[in-house]
């Protein structure tokens, strides 16, 4: 459908006003909201993710596309049924305690939202309790942790330990990432997954949720 393709391409260009207008047009034309979301917005964000992964575009473009996506989703939200939106799964994300770096974590949130997941973003300097409480409250499938500093990485171990303590191991999966984080480290602390970049994080989440 031509309008949906236009939505995707305007989203790829980061044009939030155009995306808003086209989404309105599609809704007026009685295109189901879930279809607009899937074939317009998510399809566009998918291309953005691929281009970013291929180092063809950078953070600024991704952020503008994310803004365009959010503009579109805002208009669709009242029309989306409970079963339509974000039924792929729920992830709680945050930058661990003591760490204020969130660019990577924000990117992961954008990619996950863009792929149709429900994202609960706790921000930065997030305590293990906050991660696990949010996971319980939101019925999350995955907890995603980010760190940029080697000194704050140990906090990831605390979150994994707390998940176990609360008897949630297996029910809530854990995934870690960030510049100094490695697959070895993820294994060492008992995390269920490791994402080496934002796009890989989405793949891992898909695998973990199954």
């Amino acid at each position: 459908m031509e309008t949906l393709q236009k939505i995707a391409s305007e989203l790829e260009r980061g044009h939030d006003k155009e995306v808003r207008e086209l989404v309105k047009l599609a809704l007026d034309d009685s295109v189901p909201a879930a279809t607009i979301l899937e074939d317009g917005l998510i399809a566009g964000m998918q291309v953005v993710g691929e281009r970013f992964r291929a180092h063809e575009i950078f953070l600024p473009s991704v952020l503008l596309s994310a803004r365009a996506m959010n503009a579109g989703v805002e208009l669709l939200e009242p029309h989306l049924g409970k079963t339509d939106a974000r039924s792929r799964g729920t992830i709680v994300i945050g930058t661990v305690k003591g760490d204020l770096h969130d660019i990577g974590k924000n990117l992961v949130g954008i990619m996950l939202s863009g792929a149709g997941f429900e994202v609960v973003d706790l921000g930065k300097d997030v305590s293990p309790e906050a991660f696990v409480d949010a996971a319980s409250e939101s019925g999350a499938d995955v907890i995603g942790m980010s760190a940029l500093l080697t000194t704050t990485m140990p906090a990831m171990k605390d979150v994994v330990a707390l998940v176990e303590e609360r008897g949630m191991t297996g029910k809530v999966k854990t995934i870690v990432g960030g510049a100094p984080v490695t697959e070895d480290y993820a294994r060492e602390i008992g995390a269920d997954g490791y994402g080496f970049d934002a796009a890989n994080a989405v793949e891992c989440v898909r695998e973990l949720i199954g």
Binding site: A54, H55, E56, I57, F58, L59, P60, S61, L63, L64, R67, K97, G98, D99, L100, I103, D125, L149, T150, T151, T152, M153, P154, P180, T182, Y185
Partner: protein
């Protein structure tokens, strides 16, 4: 030490100092606390690190003000003490080095993204740097070092703020690049030629790169800079990338490894060679001995 820019033009290579953060952590800086808190609470640690780097052969010694812009300090509720924090840092270094080294005022990112990518407005970012750099210049820095930048717009605002504060204090500006299959780019998509162009246009006197890479990639970055500008260059390399080994952080590039490759930086025509994350006084001593040995001090290292 004579005027900085003249020294760069007429003199041999200058060696700058190394990492600060790891040193502070060894002296009790806890994760989650602002490193700049030491400027108020533990200035003796600042003096000690400056002394060690000076003895190792550094002639450009940086202040502990990487996160000292008002906006960055605000995330620790310390912005009302911006001037004090920056001033104390400059004084700690000056008291230690006297006229034996150039005191370089470190200015790192403000921690916020400029609109339309984030919610920071240009004027508040410029003002944030103005407060920081104003305090540094008042306290007597020899040069301002805008560093670890990834956004050209932010770097421009910092350089402009420095020029506004004083036209007499030279400005260095360095960006942090990632090695991608498409070449070196900052996370915001700035390549080396764009960085050179933009930073110099904004008024920087010296340009270059710090952080993000070990010395081998830095040699490549230096070459790219040299290919597009004759301006003085500064390179402050990591001692490799940090790895976790049994609960400890290790940086793999040894002083010898870095010193050997520092000679390549010399060949490219880099005027100032220093270290970033993971480097120690030993790294600086080795680099100094390699690029501009001191007959007495470096006899042991040779």
């Amino acid at each position: 030490m004579g005027p900085f820019l003249e020294r760069l033009k007429d003199g041999p290579v200058l060696v700058a100092d190394g990492a600060m953060g790891s040193f502070l952590m060894k002296h009790g800086l806890e994760p989650g606390r602002a490193p700049e808190s030491f400027n108020l609470e533990r200035p003796e640690v600042l003096r000690e690190v400056a002394r060690l780097y000076l003895e190792a052969g550094a002639e450009v010694v940086q202040t502990n003000t990487f996160g000292g812009s008002a906006l960055k300090l605000a995330s620790y509720d310390l912005d009302d003490r911006t001037e004090e924090i920056n001033s104390a840092a400059v004084m700690a270094v000056r008291e230690t080095v006297g006229e034996g080294a150039y005191v370089s005022g470190s200015c790192g990112p403000c921690g916020r993204m400029l609109a339309p990518y984030g919610d920071a407005e240009p004027e508040e970012v410029r003002e944030s740097f103005r407060r920081q750099i104003g305090a540094m210049v008042d306290a007597g820095v020899d040069v301002v070092c805008v560093e670890t930048m990834t956004d050209l717009a932010e770097a421009t605002l910092a350089i402009e703020a420095a020029r506004e504060v004083s036209l007499d204090v030279p400005v260095m500006a360095t960006m942090t690049f990632d090695a991608t299959p498409q070449g070196f780019y900052t996370i915001m998509g700035v390549d080396v030629p764009s960085a050179a162009r933009g930073l110099l246009a904004a008024g920087a006197n010296v340009v270059g790169s710090n952080c993000g890479n070990g010395i081998e990639k830095m040699v490549s970055i230096a070459k790219e800079y040299r290919d597009c500008t004759d301006a003085p260059l500064i390179i402050q390399s990591n001692a490799g990338l940090p790895e976790m080994e049994g609960g400890e952080v290790v940086y793999r590039e040894t002083p010898e490894f870095m010193a050997e490759r520092a000679l390549q930086l010399l060949e490219v025509g880099v005027q100032i060679i220093g270290g970033c994350c993971g480097t120690t006084p030993e790294h600086i001593r080795a680099i100094r001995a390699a690029v501009r040995p001191r007959p007495q001090a470096d006899a042991a290292a040779a």
